[in-house]
Each structure stands twice: as structure tokens, then as C-alpha cells.
């Protein structure tokens, strides 16, 4: 399989042309480059999940268990009974088509089954055909069909072409949320033993080692050491790591994302956060066990999501912290913001979060006691607690990518922009219909950021990249800022493909690069050693001439 060139990828895509056959007559053809392989049985067993043995989606006959039909029907019924969301969404769609061209996978593939409405019909039609008298009576006329093995293949193919970004749900007049449907459908597939290697290996790692990438505690520390050495080399400021690791009695527990201590460019975000902590001399620590704020469990089942994140609160208890601070991550913040309190509350062993620097009480987290780092930093800046020199980021022309879930499952729009405007001078927005609640997914979210499905990723990420290209050409944007670890991991590939010449980075990397430390040395490079536009003059001896004024 080779990925076509950017100029060729979209040649066959026509958003206004549909196949001559009705979609029910089109069998899903599993194309290489569009899906991920199946996980090995051992991983499934160790996660207490069913397995179908060793097999791959490309196999002609899938080794479904003998009673697969009963299992699927029972699992559907169970989810209809447990989730009003799912039950309702199966009933009230009028197929108005408002969602049709809102999905980035549809825009990048032109495949009608990637229209959110048809993605949902893939299951809706089965519910009608298997459970409803009306559906059985009128069949296709009422949009009903029977459950077959081909349907299972189709489900696997298309529910792993949804990144649970919720963009369709913004436009739906009834708020039907395909993310919710995809969650249910992946759960049902998982019960059969169908789960992808890419989405489940990280779960296994997180469950047994503490983080998705399987970095053991000593390597976690080594990676951080490397970062602070680099920082010391660049700025002359020494950060003592010990207080940040597994320390009992700290006021705050910070939960990082493994993507941020594993690979470039996420590591600079991690560094940025450590630098901020050091600057503030914050009484904060990280657990080497709950060292994963992200949650790949969520991409497999809600139960698995809960199984992975319970350690955050176990660790908060063990380390006797007062409240918890969350890093920059997308689906993570959805899980924290919308599920944690229901799963793990009430939290009498924690206290209502209060910034030790400004005294601000984060009343919105009164019960759950978790604060997003953007809320925390915005409050610091608003209280003038950070000495920032935004001109230190003058070598960058940045735009901000709203990550799907901080946008559509939280509403975290202004805080990151407020921070950005204080730490850099050149910030431009992408076109209006591609930002904020209408933001486009990176194309690789929800466990789809593998290498084997690269074509899907490049297609799904096309609408996002296209908007970046627009500001790149118009304003010379050379850096996209985002508050999601998956974004930071996948944007470099995406932009390399569609818009070469634009870098990827996290918000707190820019914060750290703009921070003015007492005793810092002169430097000509930023935190990832790119040349600065205005070299920083060391502050060993305070001078009159000043560049630290805030924007």
C-alpha cells in the first residue's frame, strides 16, 4: 500500500455525486490504508475481553463466535436500555441531511457511508430490521435490513472511520451525536472480540504500566530529565525534578499525557508545563503510576475508560493532594469534564481547587476538583503573575486549532486564546467555519492515529489542513498551536503531507518560551532550538531596557 500524492488523493472525491446502487446493496470493501489491524488475543485476554483468536479484517471469513447474532442483539438491547441518548438517537433522525457534509471523513473521502446520518443508519437499519414490527413489515421502505456477517464488517470499517469529534452533533437539529453511536458500536464489536491493535495496545499499557506508550517509571523520569537538561542548557535555569515525581503531601496532582513525554513535538509542551511549575515554585507533583491523562479506553468502551482513569483518583488519595490539574489534551478533557464526576465522585478527600498563586477558587470544579491547565494559566496571566515577553515568540506566526473535545464537549474557547495573545504577538485565526465549535478534527482522533491507516488520516485531516493552508498562504502562518496530545502527535505528519513548512506545538511551550526568569542567560534559540527573531539578553544583571511588557 502506498499513499497517493497530495495532488492525487482527492481526485475521485465528489461531494455531490452518489453511487447508483443504494447503500444497503453496497458491501463494505475494506481498503488497505483505511483501517487498522486486529489486536492479538493475548492483549484482549489480559484486559478481560473476549477474543476471536488470531485473524485480520482482510480475512474473507471472520471467525465470529457461533452465537454472534444473539450476542450482538443482546448487546444492542442492553445499550438501548442503559443509555437514553442511544435509544433516542435511534428513533428521531428525520434524515434531513444537515449533517451530511459536516464530517471530515466524508469531506475527505466522498464515501456516503461517512455522512453521519448514514453512519448512524448502519445500526439504525439493523434495529428496525431485527426489533421493530414496522421495520420487519416494510423492510427497506422503512429503512430496515437484516443483520448479516457483512454488516459486522461494515460496522468495523465505518465505526473506525469516526473520530468521535461531535461536529455533526453541532449541526443536527436534534443534537444527535454520532460520537455516542460510535461509542456504543465499538463496545458491541469489542464484546465479540473485535478491537484494533492501535486502540487496545495503549489500553493494555495504560492499565499495567500507567501510560499509553508503555514507558516505565524510570524512563518517564529519564525523559523528563532530558527535557530539563535541555532547558538548562538553553536558558541556564535549573529545574529540580524530584519534587515533581511521586511526592506525597503536595497541594496539586498534575496528570500529564504520555504523548507529551514520549515524542517530539509533544515533549516541548511537557517541558513548558514543568517550566511553568518551576517558575511559580508550585507545590505540585505527578504520580509515576497515574501518568496518563489521556484515555484510549474511551475509544473501546466506557467501562474500559473508567478502568483506566480510576487510578488518577486512587493516586490523588494516596499522595494526599488537595486537587488535580489536567494537561492539554482533547478527548481526555471530554472524559474528565463530562464523565469523571459521575464515575468516581463524590470526592470528599479532595478540596475545592484554589490557585495557590492568585488565591482564585475554581468554583466551576466545586465538586469534581479538577482544573484544566488553560483555566489555571489564564488566571495567572489575568492576575499578572507571569512576566512574559511575547516578542520571544516573534519568530512564529501562529494559528490556534480548537481540538474537538475541549471545544464541543467543554467549551474551552477563550482561555487558550487569551493565553496565546499574551505569549505571542502574531496570532491569526483560521477561517470562521473551521474553528471554535465548527472546528475540524485532525483526522486521527479516537484511536485512529496509526501508520497503517495513513490514507484515512490524510483524507480525514484534509479539511483541517486545508484551513491551515489558507492562513499559511495568506498570513505566513508557520506554527499551529493546539491543546491536545493526539493532535501534537499527528499534526506533523498531516501538515507535512498537505502544508509543508508549518510546525506543530502545544500552548504551554509558547508560554514557557515567553517566560522571563531571573538569572536566565542570553540565548538565540527557542526551547526547541529554533532561532529566535530577537535574541534574548540574559538577565544576570537587571537592566533598564526592558522587553518584558505584556501585550
Amino acid at each position: 500500500m502506498s499513499l497517493p500524492k497530495p495532488d492525487e488523493l482527492l481526485v475521485g472525491v465528489n461531494l455531490h455525486k452518489t453511487p447508483s446502487k443504494t447503500w444497503m446493496d453496497i458491501k463494505a470493501e475494506l481498503r488497505k490504508g483505511m483501517y487498522c489491524g486486529i489486536v492479538d488475543p493475548k492483549t484482549l485476554e489480559e484486559l478481560d475481553l473476549n477474543t476471536m483468536g488470531s485473524w485480520q479484517p482482510s480475512d474473507e471469513k471472520w471467525p465470529l463466535p457461533e452465537n454472534w447474532k444473539e450476542i450482538v442483539k443482546e448487546e444492542i438491547r442492553k445499550r438501548l436500555e442503559k443509555h437514553r441518548s442511544f435509544k433516542l438517537f435511534m428513533d428521531i433522525c428525520v434524515r434531513c441531511g444537515a449533517c451530511a457534509d459536516k464530517c471530515h471523513y466524508f469531506l475527505g473521502t466522498g464515501d456516503p457511508k461517512n455522512m453521519p446520518v448514514l453512519r448512524a443508519e448502519l445500526i439504525r437499519s439493523i434495529i428496525k430490521g431485527e426489533f421493530s414490527t414496522f421495520g420487519k413489515l416494510f423492510g427497506r421502505l422503512a429503512g430496515a435490513r437484516k443483520l448479516t456477517e457483512d454488516v459486522i464488517k461494515e460496522w468495523f470499517y465505518y465505526f473506525y472511520q469516526c473520530s468521535e469529534c461531535r461536529r455533526c452533533s453541532v449541526f443536527c437539529p436534534y443534537g444527535i451525536d454520532t460520537a455516542e453511536i460510535t461509542i456504543m458500536m465499538r463496545e458491541i464489536l469489542l464484546q465479540l472480540g473485535i478491537g484494533t491493535d492501535w486502540a487496545l495496545k495503549p489500553v493494555h499499557n495504560s492499565y499495567y504500566i500507567g501510560n499509553h506508550v508503555g514507558v516505565p517509571p524510570q524512563s518517564f523520569k529519564e525523559n523528563l530529565e532530558f527535557l530539563v537538561w535541555e532547558f538548562e542548557d538553553i536558558t541556564g535555569i535549573h529545574i529540580d525534578l524530584d519534587k515533581y515525581l511521586n511526592r506525597k503531601g503536595a497541594e496539586i496532582l498534575y496528570v500529564p499525557m504520555s504523548g507529551d513525554y514520549f515524542a517530539d513535538p509533544g515533549i516541548y509542551t511537557m517541558l513548558g508545563i514543568l517550566v511553568l511549575f518551576h517558575y511559580l515554585d508550585l507545590d505540585v507533583t505527578m504520580s509515576v503510576w497515574a501518568a496518563e491523562g489521556g484515555n484510549f479506553g474511551y475509544f473501546n468502551s466506557l467501562e474500559m475508560a473508567k478502568r483506566l482513569h480510576s487510578k488518577i483518583y486512587e493516586e490523588a488519595k494516596r499522595l494526599k493532594v488537595k486537587w488535580i490539574l489536567a494537561g492539554e489534551c482533547g478527548h481526555m478533557w471530554r472524559v474528565w469534564n463530562q464523565y469523571h464526576n459521575t464515575w468516581f465522585g463524590p470526592f470528599d478527600y479532595l478540596e475545592v481547587p484554589k490557585s495557590p498563586i492568585t488565591g482564585t477558587v475554581f468554583e466551576q470544579a466545586k465538586e469534581n476538583k479538577i482544573v484544566h491547565i488553560c483555566e489555571f494559566t489564564a488566571d495567572l496571566i489575568a492576575h499578572n503573575k507571569l512576566r512574559l515577553d511575547p516578542s520571544r515568540n516573534d519568530h512564529l506566526i501562529v494559528t490556534f486549532h480548537d481540538s474537538c473535545n475541549p471545544a464541543r464537549a467543554a467549551g474551552l474557547f477563550e482561555e487558550p486564546r487569551f493565553i496565546l495573545k499574551h505569549v505571542c504577538n502574531n496570532f491569526v485565526e483560521m477561517p470562521e467555519n473551521t474553528i471554535r465549535e465548527k472546528t475540524f478534527c485532525c483526522g486521527s482522533g479516537a484511536g485512529l492515529n496509526a501508520g497503517e491507516n495513513m490514507e484515512l488520516r490524510m483524507r480525514g485531516g484534509f479539511p483541517r489542513a486545508n484551513a491551515v493552508e489558507y492562513v499559511h498562504k495568506k498570513y505566513g502562518v508557520n506554527q499551529v498551536i493546539m491543546i491536545c496530545a493526539i493532535d501534537r502527535a499527528v499534526f506533523p505528519t498531516l501538515l507535512q503531507y498537505w502544508v509543508p513548512g508549518v510546525d506543530t506545538g502545544g500552548l504551554h511551550e509558547l508560554v514557557a518560551n515567553a517566560l522571563i526568569f531571573e538569572g536566565e542567560k542570553s540565548r538565540t534559540e527557542d526551547l526547541r532550538r529554533r532561532p529566535l527573531k530577537h535574541p534574548v539578553k540574559g538577565r544576570e544583571e537587571p537592566t533598564e531596557e526592558s522587553t518584558e511588557e505584556e501585550g
Binding site: L10, K17, T18, P19, L44, D48, E81, H83, R84, K87, I92, C93, R95, G97, A98, L107, P112, V117, L141, G143, F171, P173, Y174, D177, E180, Q191, I209, P217, Q218, E222, L245, K248, V288, M304, K306, S310, E314, R318, N337, Q338, Y339, N341, T342, S355, T360, E363, Q364, N368, E375, A378, R408, A409, A410, G411, F413, E414, N433, T434, F462, N466
Partner: protein, 352 residues
């Protein structure tokens, strides 16, 4: 094909009362029995549907947020209460705009791909068509109250007057909503044929209600402006229905067209609870719209939440102890193994 079959079914529905009343003279069946049965089906069906939805709990608080959240710590970030409700009152406002003005639909965009560029344009036609149809339908329903009440409430008479302020020569005043509803419905129907995507995803069951509604509208209009039914007799019948003393007015010439109209309305009512038309009630249940985004502030309780299996810090530390000591990471000597009862919905250990 889907549309054709739906149209044929619709045609049959028109033919039944035409034959039943026009030829067989079964006025009582089509004027009394069927309307009552269908109305009952509508009521019971709708209640059944609501109970059916309500029986499933709201598992999680998962609103879709389309605006800035309420940051109580930094209140100068302007909270968008309509798009990201925090209180119940905010939710009511959001739902009001959603139900009355179709706010989400108003956001609609159209995406076009030109070579390697995506362009988004405004696309309010669907919103307009939907608003025209739904509002006209609602006003027409209200206008019909005059057929079921005696004396007619003043407000209904006023509405009637307002709706027909365009006076024309010779013919009865034309209702604006009659024109608008047919315009709206025609648009919604044409869209299903012309827009390739919508056409592709339309079932017969998407065309059928449109045919029914257009049929109802057209027969209604015909009755008023063309076939001129005996209104006095019609009111006798409808008032009888409403007061549970149904009679077919003797000797009156109500006209078959009326029975066709009534039969189509009855069909719509009976079909309603079992079709996508339940979106009318369903929208109020939509969990991505009817909940505040405040789960950190106020805990949502899921009635079936259960303790899960997870690894403990102790087990983790036991595994990595040596490495941690070597790396200088603090060891917790107090960490203890822990046991707790757990449940799972998955795999070989499935116990719920």
C-alpha cells in the same frame, strides 16, 4: 423507487375514503369511527413512546457545547449561556431557541470541494423550508380549533383574522399559512429529489409523511377555495367529535373531499408515534441539548454505575520497585494491596 412506492401508498390512502364515502356511503365509518381510532392510536402511541424513552436512564451528562463555557474562576470570559448552558434556566433558553427557532439548523453550512480547496457557504434554505412548514402547520392546527369549539375563543378568531388579512375579490380570504405550508412542503420534497446526498439517504418513510402532509394541505385548500364544502355541516360533525356526541349531520352535503382530508389527517395521526415524526417530542429528550455543561460543578448520577476492576498502585510498585529505587523515585512503603468487588459487562468474566 422509494418515493414511488410511498406515493402509491399515499394514493391508496386517498382512494380508500373516496371509495368508502363517495361510492359506498360509509360516512359514519370515515367521519367518526376511524378518526376516533386514529386519535386514540396517536395518544396512546405517543405516550408509549415517551414512556419507552423515559425508561432508559440518562447515563451521562454529555451536552454538545457550541460556545464558551462558564468559567466561574475567571468570569470575564464571556459565558455563552445559550450555546453552553450552565444552569437549568440556561438549558431552558437553549431548548426554547432550538424548538421554536431551530437554532442548530440555522447554523447549517454547505461544503464544496474545488480541486484541492474546501469552501464553506451559508445554507439556510433547509432552515427556511423547515420553519415555513412547521410554523404554518402549527398555526393551521390552531386555526382548526374553531371547528372544535363553540363559541370560538377570541384568540383563535384573531389568529384567523391575522392569517387571512390578504383580502381578495370574490373568493374567501386566502390564508397566508396555506401558501407558506405548501411552499415549505414542496421545498422539502423537491430537496429530497434534487439534492443528491439527501436523495441518496432518503427512505420511502421519508417521502411518505411529506406526501401525506401535502395531501392534507391540498385537500384543505381545495375544500376552501374550490369544492366549497358545507361548513356548517362540517362544524356540526367536528364539534360532535370534540364533545363526544358524534353525529353525521343528516342530509348535509359535506362532500367526499372532506372525508379524504379527514382520513389523511387520521392516517398521519396514527402513523405519527411509529415513525420519525416523533422527533417532535423526542427533541425535548435530546441529552446533548437538554443538559447543562456543569458536571464538574454538580455531579450527574448514573443509576447503573458499577465498581470496575482496576490495578492498584501497590501492584504497579511491586513490579517496578527496583527500577524506581534505582532512578531515585520515591517508594511508598505504606502502599497496600487492595481487594474490592467489581463488575464487568465484557468478556469471559461478564457478570452484569
Amino acid at each position: 423507487m422509494n418515493a414511488l412506492i410511498s406515493f402509491i401508498i399515499f394514493g391508496i390512502l386517498v382512494a380508500i375514503p373516496w371509495f368508502g364515502v363517495g361510492v359506498l356511503g360509509l360516512q359514519s365509518l370515515f367521519g367518526i369511527v376511524i378518526p376516533y381510532i386514529c386519535f386514540l392510536v396517536f395518544m396512546i402511541g405517543l405516550i408509549y413512546r415517551i414512556v419507552y424513552w423515559a425508561k432508559s436512564p440518562v447515563s451521562y451528562k454529555i451536552p454538545t457545547t457550541c460556545g464558551q463555557h462558564k468559567n466561574l474562576a475567571s468570569p470575564w470570559f464571556k459565558h455563552n449561556r445559550l450555546e453552553n448552558p450552565f444552569t437549568t434556566f440556561d438549558v431552558i433558553l437553549r431548548m426554547f431557541l432550538e424548538v421554536v427557532f431551530f437554532r442548530s439548523l440555522f447554523r447549517n453550512l454547505r461544503a464544496d470541494l474545488y480541486g484541492k480547496r474546501l469552501i464553506y457557504g451559508s445554507a439556510k434554505w433547509l432552515w427556511l423550508g423547515a420553519i415555513l412548514f412547521h410554523w404554518s402547520f402549527f398555526i393551521i392546527l390552531l386555526r382548526h380549533v374553531r371547528l372544535f369549539t363553540n363559541p370560538v375563543p377570541g384568540i383563535i378568531e384573531k389568529l384567523d383574522y391575522l392569517d387571512s388579512f390578504i383580502q381578495s375579490l370574490g373568493v374567501p380570504p386566502i390564508y397566508i399559512t396555506d401558501i407558506l405550508i405548501l411552499a415549505g412542503l414542496t421545498f422539502l420534497l423537491l430537496r429530497r429529489f434534487i439534492d443528491s446526498k439527501v436523495s441518496y439517504l432518503s427512505y420511502g418513510s421519508d417521502f411518505f409523511p411529506l406526501f401525506l402532509l401535502i395531501g392534507i394541505g391540498v385537500t384543505g385548500v381545495l375544500m376552501r377555495y374550490y369544492f366549497k364544502v358545507d361548513l356548517y355541516a362540517v362544524k356540526q360533525l367536528t364539534l360532535g367529535l370534540a364533545t363526544l356526541h358524534p353525529t353525521i349531520p343528516e342530509g348535509a352535503k359535506i362532500g367526499t373531499i372532506f372525508y379524504i382530508h379527514l382520513f389523511l389527517v387520521s392516517s398521519l395521526a396514527a402513523y405519527f408515534p411509529f415513525s420519525k415524526l416523533v422527533h417532535m417530542v423526542g427533541v425535548f429528550f435530546s441529552v446533548t441539548r437538554n443538559m447543562p455543561n456543569n458536571n464538574r460543578y454538580k455531579r450527574h448520577i448514573n443509576p447503573w454505575e458499577y465498581p470496575i476492576k482496576h490495578l492498584s498502585y501497590y501492584e504497579f510498585q511491586e513490579r517496578f520497585k527496583d527500577k524506581m529505587i534505582e532512578a531515585g523515585i520515591p517508594i511508598d512503603e505504606e502502599a497496600k494491596p487492595e481487594e474490592h468487588k467489581w463488575y464487568t459487562m465484557y468478556g469471559p468474566n461478564k457478570n452484569i
